[in-house]
Amino acid sequence: MTERNVSLGSTGCAEDDIDSMVQALLDREERRLLASAPAVPDGIDEWRALVAEPGFTRRNSVLARGAPLHRIDQRKAWQRFPRDLYCPRTLGLAALEAVVSQQEMESEATTEEVVQFLASLAASAAPERDASEHLAVARFVLRELLNDAQDGEEFDISYSDYREGHSRVTLSLRMLEEGFGRRGQAVLRATTPAINLLLSGLEHDLEDVQAAKDVMLRRQVSTRRWGHAEESAAESLKLSLMYCQRVRAVLEETERDVRAVDWSQDVPELLKVSREHLCERQRVERELMEWMREVRNDVDDAEVRRTCERILRLLGRAHLRHMQLLEKVIDARPAFLRSQAEQRFRPPPRLALVGVQDDVLEPVLRLGVEDAEAVASLFADAAGGPVVPHRPRLRDWWASLLAPAREARETFPDEEIELIADDPGELGLYGDEDVAVARALLTEALRAPVRLSQLLEQALVHGVEAADLLAISVLRAFAPDPEDDEEEGTADELADLLEEHLVVLDDGAVFDLGTFTGSDLLLVPAQSLIPDPTYAEDDLEVLV
């Protein structure tokens, strides 16, 4: 109100003059009518009332649900791609579309396929750019949809709700999920919020949408808008799939625990509704298929004919789905009776017994984090039974002291980084020459005991690398690293000598050569410890 008055006042006197002129021109009746209308419309309050309406909040929440798609190009990491070339929203939506089209079917969309698909889209958006960039864009978009930055957690989306004063509402939702397919391959699945967002942008009741789609399909076919007709046939199938899933979940739950679902009212109602729905769907689909067949037989255009075929196939698929569901629905009551007979007609349990689901799990899920943690971990502790603490044995002591702290839980890091040296120079740290030098020196050592410092001095003549290799090999022979067993290194090429023919001892002496310092280890030929000299001689010859 105040703002309005101020703005009126600031417009100057010219308007005031006009106003008085107009007032003079009006007759009394007109003046009365004008005065009876509110002088200044109460704009802000009225607008507030609009904002407080549930419809507004619903639209607002729908808009907010799209945030994960909108967020992508604001990511800092996205800035490395050239501006205004790729549209991450379109790519994200395309990924959802691709995933939904295969969902629940025999071959669900795998991660690789979707990446390939997105990369091809990126390639047509910017054909002049490098293929590796297209792949990077595709991966980026997919990872954002999966919320990889937060280990695949749900997106947190907040919006303001003005229905009663103001409050922040936080929604959690996921767009895509990665899971294992039927053959154990990694596949992608779209979540229900994602499907709703993609199909209609609004949360309708499923059945209503289905009816709307049918009408749309008929209209589209009759007006010969072939492309659209195909689209809505596909969407009709997607909706049917969602519906199948919902009914199946309820039926499965019944088979496990009769009490979990209300069989006196809810389920019979649901079964009745779904039976009617299914019969209706089957009738409609049959009619539509007949109708489509007629249309197909009438048209001459080969392209249109092919589209008709596709629509027919989609409808056939939906028909099949509904048949499968109907079988389950028809079997539901006998299944219920079977489950009831099994579950209800048993000897009554003891009075004091606790129902794990009703009395423990469900209340715990409703508790706050702290309280729930206390109860749940108490349950886990008590379910475990006795755990006898194990004392380490002396012979395990050495390895367990050296081994890094072991995590009791099996950990698989989310990102498995492969440590592959990019620079070819890093691959072989020691050249063949160095190995040869070290080998020659160690072979020398087979003749008589020698100190590490002497060997190193000789090796340094050839180079630091050779001495380094020698020192590492000897150290490894003296104190093998238990964690290092599988590692294949150049130093291991000398292991045959060190492990079998030389014994490394520490007598407490130390040395300092500048580059190398430490215990001056003693290398004693193993042959001197073996009484049979001929055997040692043979061995040496073989080696040399």
Binding site: P348, A376, A383, G385, V388
Partner: protein, 248 residues
């Protein structure tokens, strides 16, 4: 008890202790170990011997839950005693990790034995990672659906973060590059819980039924029935009472 004469010979006491010792190794099966089987038989039939074994267990701060012919002597360490295990003592687990792992345990039990009658019935239950996860997610979905008002809109979140939200937020399964379950997924946590039960002789892997399938042994049911469920329920009741007192 009189101090004048001991009713048990030293051999009896040794046998009683040996039986409890077997019971402390839950993966041992009495049918495969003749001495265990004999001691168990004696426990079931010989009253005084049972008294001695119970006393030994009592001294070790254990409760004897059941002497089962196939599963062996089922023992339960009293809370906080030396043979008990506590998730809290695990250095690597934070509050939320413990919550999710604890929920996984409860859900495994609730999935297999939803009603008190199920806890009474001696049967081997089968379960799998996806089954337990789907079960929990159905419950959390139901709670999510319940958290809307008359207009079908989400209610403004209160300060209290509910346990189900913590679970629902995590992804169900995320394959890593090597085709295993990633650290952050709930199925991995359920796997951890089931593997722990396998280690404790409460479950068996059932790979012949598919990857991630398990069988829950009779021992698990008894342990849940006699120890875990009632302990958790008691704490829940205490919490509820405390909340009610606060509200007053």
């Amino acid at each position: 008890m009189t101090t004048a004469a001991y009713a048990y010979s030293t051999a009896d006491l040794a046998d009683a202790a040996a039986l409890v010792c077997f019971g402390c190794q839950p993966r041992l099966r009495p049918l495969g170990i003749p001495r265990y089987r004999d001691l168990l038989q004696r426990y079931r039939l010989d009253g005084p011997f049972r008294g001695a074994a119970d006393a030994v267990a009592d001294g070790l701060e254990l409760d004897v839950i059941e002497a089962h012919q196939v599963e062996g002597l089922i023992l339960h360490p009293r809370e906080g005693t030396w043979l008990s295990y506590r998730l809290k003592d695990h250095p690597k687990l934070g509050v939320k990790d413990r919550l999710v792992l604890g929920l996984a345990h409860v859900a495994i039990a609730a999935r297999a034995y939803p009603t008190p009658a199920d806890l009474e019935e001696e049967s081997v239950k089968r379960t799998s990672l996806t089954e337990v996860d789907d079960f929990l997610r159905r419950l959390t979905d139901r709670l999510r659906e319940a958290a809307v008002d008359a207009d079908g809109l989400a209610v403004p979140h209160d300060e209290l973060q509910a346990a189900w939200k913590v679970y629902a937020k995590l992804p169900p399964s995320r394959p890593t590059a090597t085709g295993r379950l990633s650290e952050s997924s709930t199925q991995r946590v359920i796997k951890e819980a089931l593997d722990w039960l396998v280690e404790q002789g409460m479950a068996y892997r059932a790979d012949e039924l598919g990857v991630g399938h398990y069988r829950l042994a009779h021992r698990f049911r008894v342990q849940v029935r006699e120890a875990a469920a009632s302990a958790a329920f008691t704490v829940l009741c205490d919490l509820r009472r405390a909340h009610l007192a606060e509200e007053d």
